[in-house]
Amino acid sequence: MSAVRIAPGYRLQWEPAQDCHVLLYPEGMVKLSASAAMILELCDGVRDADAIVAALLQRFPEADLTADVHEFLEVAHERGWLRTV
């Protein structure tokens, strides 16, 4: 599987005024849930989906997030938020 990163033109950042992470893009913004933000933070151009799951598993050993992560990455790809490297 190939590594993923946030697409050019998109920026993930913490917004104090919204009290959440947001994804900024040309003339727009989406508010992100805590888990979405966590996954996107791991899309660093080095990790692939399995590595992202593994990283999350270290932080949350009880939860099996495999399906959730794959589903989110698929949606994020469709929306143009991500690129494979």
Partner: protein, 396 residues
């Protein structure tokens, strides 16, 4: 933007109209007809304070427009400051005043996004409308933007004189390998209002253009994203103008006047505060101008008791004023409005206007001529005050 609803009480969008100076003279420009009067532009330090204050209130998107924002020599400095503060920075430019080196400097300063406007699909149409030779330079700039690693975002403002070349417009965009194309329709404020009879396309023109745009949308799926917006004169419900008055958008004009919407300055009996005299927080939350049409209490019938008011906020106040003479009326684009016939009349009036009638180009000479006589003269078939308009962002 999709987060519009989450913080209704604070601005998310700051539009900084850095200057009214522009080497082009588009007859559909949404700058005020008397733009030559506002020469006293905010200085770099004041703009930086505005950026800081807006960011502290939660604004996340910054539009840098004008006029031509690239005529400001401090553009790079302002971009750097905005980016440092955490803004997503959008430059809305005609491309004039940019070159490869400057694009690189802006990129280094942290600019996030550049949108380049074209007036038409060929040198001839483009330069006739722009009133100067700009076409080749724009093409070079569009390519340079992409070479610098940005998505190429092109904007074409459509009207009667160029909508028939829709196919050529999109061919040009695909030849340039644009990533996004915005097919914007002319909005009738400012100079576009003065030229409305000459610019408003016919329904047939529109339908032809739309069919071509949709075919291209299909064909270019996944390669070039094409946005097409139906002009509201041909709709039966108004647009949710500014997403509601004083709700998400904050515009600062070149002279520091703060406005809830692009042409709010043309509304009579309202005065808008200046950032030189007031803090942005007060301007947004307390100033009478920003509170005037906030929420729903100001509404008259049919809006007041309409179950769609939370969707469109009664439409555009400026359009209501320009077409009905009263800014509290429903936007007459709405077919529930008792004034909807004025929109239909405007369409008829445009159809009866010969294509030979000269366009009024946006330049200081025409600005002086218009404002030394009266603004009414150039405005077709509707009352207006002595106070001309002010854009949200110029239709560059």
């Amino acid at each position: 933007m999709s987060a519009a609803g989450c913080a209704p009480s604070k601005p998310l969008w700051l539009l900084a109209e850095l200057t009214y100076a522009c080497p082009l003279q588009c007859p559909y420009c949404s700058n005020p007809l008397d733009f030559h009067r506002y020469k006293d532009e905010l200085d770099t330090e004041t703009w930086k304070r505005v950026l800081r204050e807006a960011r502290a209130m939660g604004a996340a998107q910054l539009g840098l427009s004008g006029g031509e924002p690239a005529t400001r020599q401090d553009l790079e400095e302002l971009v750097a400051e905005a980016r440092r503060l955490g803004f997503y920075t959008n430059l809305i430019t005609s491309g004039i005043g940019l070159d490869v080196e400057r694009i690189e400097r802006l990129r280094e300063a942290g600019l996030d996004h550049i949108q380049v406007s074209f007036q038409g699909s060929s040198e001839e149409i483009n330069d006739h409308l722009a009133g100067t030779e700009a076409f080749r330079h724009k093409q070079a700039i569009a390519r340079a933007v992409k070479a610098a690693g940005y998505p190429m975002v092109l904007c074409f403002v459509l009207h009667r004189d160029n909508i028939d070349s829709m196919d050529a417009v999109l061919t040009l965009a695909s030849e340039l390998q644009a990533d996004y194309v915005e097919l914007a329709t002319t909005q009738y404020y400012g100079w576009a209002w003065a030229n409305r009879d000459r610019l408003l396309p016919s329904r047939e023109q529109l339908q032809r253009g739309e069919a071509i745009a949709h075919a291209w949308q299909e064909r270019m799926k996944g390669r070039m994203k094409i946005y097409y917006v139906v002009p509201d004169y041909y709709e039966t419900r108004p647009k949710a103008c500014m997403n509601g008055w004083g709700k998400v958008f904050l515009t600062i004009a070149p002279d520091g006047t703060a406005l809830p919407c692009h042409s709010a300055r043309e509304l009579p009996g309202l005065s808008f505060p200046n950032v030189r005299e007031h803090a942005l927080d007060w301007i947004w939350s307390e100033s009478p101008g920003f509170r005037r049409f906030r929420g729903f209490d100001w509404m008259k019938e049919p809006c007041r008791s309409c179950d769609e008011k939370e969707k469109d906020f009664g439409g555009c106040r400026c359009q209501a004023y320009l077409l009905t003479g009263d800014a509290e009326n429903a936007d007459p684009v709405c077919d529930k409005s008792p004034h909807h016939d004025r929109v239909l009349a405007a369409i008829e009036q445009a159809a009866a206007t010969p294509a030979e009638k000269p366009l009024v180009f946006r330049n200081p000479r025409n600005a002086k001529r218009i404002s030394s006589t009266t603004v009414h003269e150039t405005a077709p078939a509707a009352p207006r005050a002595n106070d001309p308009g002010q854009p949200e962002r110029s239709q560059t």
